[in-house]
């Protein structure tokens, strides 16, 4: 058998009308990350190193919902999560609730390799990151104007629903509004 690689930048209500100025930078990033991954596989890097390397590239690109460019919570903050799994050994690492770690996937790998656990979250994960000397930045680094705007639109959508509902609305995910700028940030 031969080597193979696949990568994604999220699925959702991405309309066919996505304007070139939004489509082209994303396609360029996918192309770049694919080249990075193929080169690493051809250089005989392990699949574990390859997937971590590619996801770090994607985290660093503000056009995708991870790392820099992560979408915002209802409080306008960032809470990032990541996970890595090695099929050969079934070892896993996962993190949630990160606010300052530049590459969450790297911290997930450290959880897998340097702790007896699989999953660390929130303050514990942040403390582990500092203990390991992982690169961290101010939380504002991850917040892009696009995602501030998306949060505002998402809140307005919720407000409209609440206005029409006498009862507090349980956000109906099926009625998820298509964010006018084209990228529904559902995943």
């Amino acid at each position: 058998m031969g080597w193979a690689i696949a990568l994604h930048g999220g699925a959702g209500d991405i309309p066919l009308s996505l304007p070139p100025e939004r489509r082209l930078p994303r396609e360029a990033c996918l192309r770049h990350c694919l080249q990075v991954g193929v080169h690493a596989l051809k250089s005989k890097k392990s699949p574990l190193d390859v997937v971590e390397l590619v996801v770090q590239e994607l985290e660093n690109n503000p056009n995708f919902n991870a790392g820099r460019g992560s979408v915002l919570t209802t409080n306008g903050t960032v809470e990032m999560e990541a996970c890595i799994v090695d099929g050969k050994t079934m070892r896993c690492g996962a993190v949630s609730g990160l606010k300052t770690v530049v590459n969450p996937i790297y911290l997930a790998r450290l959880v897998m390799e340097k702790t007896p656990h699989i999953y660390l979250g929130f303050e514990g994960a942040e403390a582990f990151a500092r203990e390991q000397g992982v690169e961290t930045v101010d939380a504002s680094h991850f917040i892009t104007p696009e995602n501030v705007e998306r949060l505002k639109q998402a809140r307005e959508a919720n407000r409209v629903q609440i206005d029409y509902n006498a009862q507090p609305v349980q956000k109906d995910m099926k009625r998820e509004e298509l964010i006018p700028d084209g990228d529904s940030q559902i995943g």
Partner: protein, 131 residues
């Protein structure tokens, strides 16, 4: 959400996923990405990374189901992934990428689009958003 799955010439597999989650999510909300077997999974048969509405992916244990259909029903990667995405989760909610130990690649989704790319040693490569 972003993700990557890879297999080398010896059939070793790995999966990685990272995300900011959902716009306007509640503080403290956990999605599918860090839940082993929901948004991310790998074993000796395949490696899977999922994206979409995390709550639907967790309920459907999407990534593990793909591997389990291969393991217990002898399905190919493509058949298993197509069944899970096409039949086991609500429409408009899920996309995934997966590779198998034999070098198969599949990238099904039941949403309008999924930003995706893949390449195999025999020269095939693809970068796409929609069907």
């Amino acid at each position: 959400t972003v993700g990557c799955v890879a297999v080398d010439n010896e059939g070793n597999l790995a999966a990685a996923t990272s995300t900011g989650g959902l716009v306007n999510k509640m503080v403290g909300r956990i999605g599918d990405t860090p839940i082993i077997g929901a948004g991310t999974y790998a074993n000796s048969l395949c490696a899977v990374s999922a994206t979409g509405k995390g709550e639907a992916i967790i309920r459907g244990t999407v990534a593990r189901d793909v591997a389990a259909l291969m393991e217990f029903k002898g399905m190919s990667l493509e058949q298993a992934a197509a069944l899970v995405v096409g039949d086991r989760v609500p429409k408009g909610n899920v996309g995934l990428i997966a590779v198998s130990a034999t070098g198969e690649v599949t990238m099904p989704f039941n949403t309008t689009g999924m930003f995706r790319a893949c390449a195999t040693e025999d020269g095939h490569s693809e970068i796409a958003i929609w069907d």
